[in-house]
């Protein structure tokens, strides 16, 4: 039996239930009205996962909803954690185990109560906690038996659910510091989720072909887009291609900002977080 599957059988049922229900929170009403109606409502990110978690952490002992929201965020952002640990020099197997243990610490311990009250963003708080966790692990020389006592991550299921779309060079992987790779993976996760949601929306309307053809032009300059050729490919008038592309960009923008909004306490921080992630990827700082 696969070792992760075997471990999963031993893990905490309630957490696992949160993690394996793919739409655990996505189907909830956090932003569903705006997200599903198809009409972009910029700035309408009233309650985010992170703000829900932080408000729940204020009360004595995190409630079920708070812990489910935290588990969902961890499920989404496991790749940056894993990439960071790997870059610190651990073997793939040890990195898997440490990722497991880190999530267990976050979810089964009282991480939220011990987190810095000034809080900040989920990304920066998680990275700081991960650095501390690895320092502790190094002190203990990580002598635990492989596999640990509890399993949080089902690698097979998670990778099957959301295979990474990021293309990264070996040179970058081997030369960039762990903190920057963490940010790159984080940025990729945000973008991947926005693209996936856009794709699913087109698919639900039976227009997957529209996504497949036009998504390649989401960031293209106006002069680089041949609406004549695209109209022929899609079998629709040129005017329709222009409208579709315009609205796809609008919708993508909204979905991207929605994804980021879930990781910050204040919706007003979305712009800053996006700017930070852009700067982390800047060629000039490579």
């Amino acid at each position: 039996m696969n070792k992760w599957r075997a471990l999963r059988n031993r893990c905490n049922d309630s957490f696992w239930a949160c993690l394996t229900r793919r739409t655990c929170l996505e189907s909830r009403s956090l932003n569903s009205a705006a997200a599903n109606e198809g009409v972009p409502r910029p700035g309408a990110f009233a309650t985010t996962r992170w703000s829900l978690i932080l408000s729940g952490a204020d009360s004595k002992g995190a409630g079920k909803e708070t812990r489910a929201a935290l588990a969902e965020l961890c499920r989404i952002y496991w790749r940056p954690i894993f990439a960071f640990i790997s870059r610190r020099g651990y073997s793939a197997e040890d990195a898997e185990d440490l990722t497991q243990d880190f999530f267990v610490m976050i979810l089964e311990g009282n991480w939220l109560q011990h987190a810095d009250p000034s809080r900040g963003r989920f990304r920066s708080l998680l990275l700081k906690s991960l650095q501390n966790f690895l320092n502790d692990a190094a002190d203990k020389t990580y002598a635990r038996k492989r596999g640990g006592d509890v399993s949080f991550v089902s690698w097979d299921a998670w990778m099957a659910e959301a295979p990474s779309q990021l293309s990264i060079s070996t040179e970058t992987l081997n030369s960039w510091p762990a903190e920057r790779l963490f940010d790159v993976r984080w940025a990729a996760t945000v973008v991947e989720r926005a693209l996936r949601r856009l794709r699913e929306e087109c698919e639900r309307k039976g227009r997957l072909r529209v996504f497949d053809v036009l998504s390649a032009y989401l960031t293209a300059e106006r002069d680089d887009v041949s609406s004549v050729n695209l109209a022929t490919t899609l079998g629709v008038p040129q005017a329709t291609v222009k409208k579709l592309l315009y609205h796809m960009r609008q919708r993508y923008r909204w979905l991207l900002r929605d994804e980021v909004a879930h990781t910050v306490e204040n919706p007003a921080d979305v712009e800053d977080e996006l700017r930070y992630l852009c700067s982390a990827l800047a060629a000039s700082s490579e």
Binding site: A92, W155, L173, Q250, A283
Partner: protein, 62 residues
Amino acid sequence: MNLYGLTDSHATITNQPDECPHCESAFRMSCGLCLRCLLQAGLTEDEDSGSESLDTLLSQIE
């Protein structure tokens, strides 16, 4: 350090970084789009798109 074998990225490692002609970043998504440009798109000014949405438009295609 050789990071080949990273559990979640062995299929996405490239030998030749393909720099974006616009921002020169070397991170690409599998669809070919530049990761940084895709992020930057979230910072563009929101134009008034009227009442028509992508959802509506997709429904109207013949």
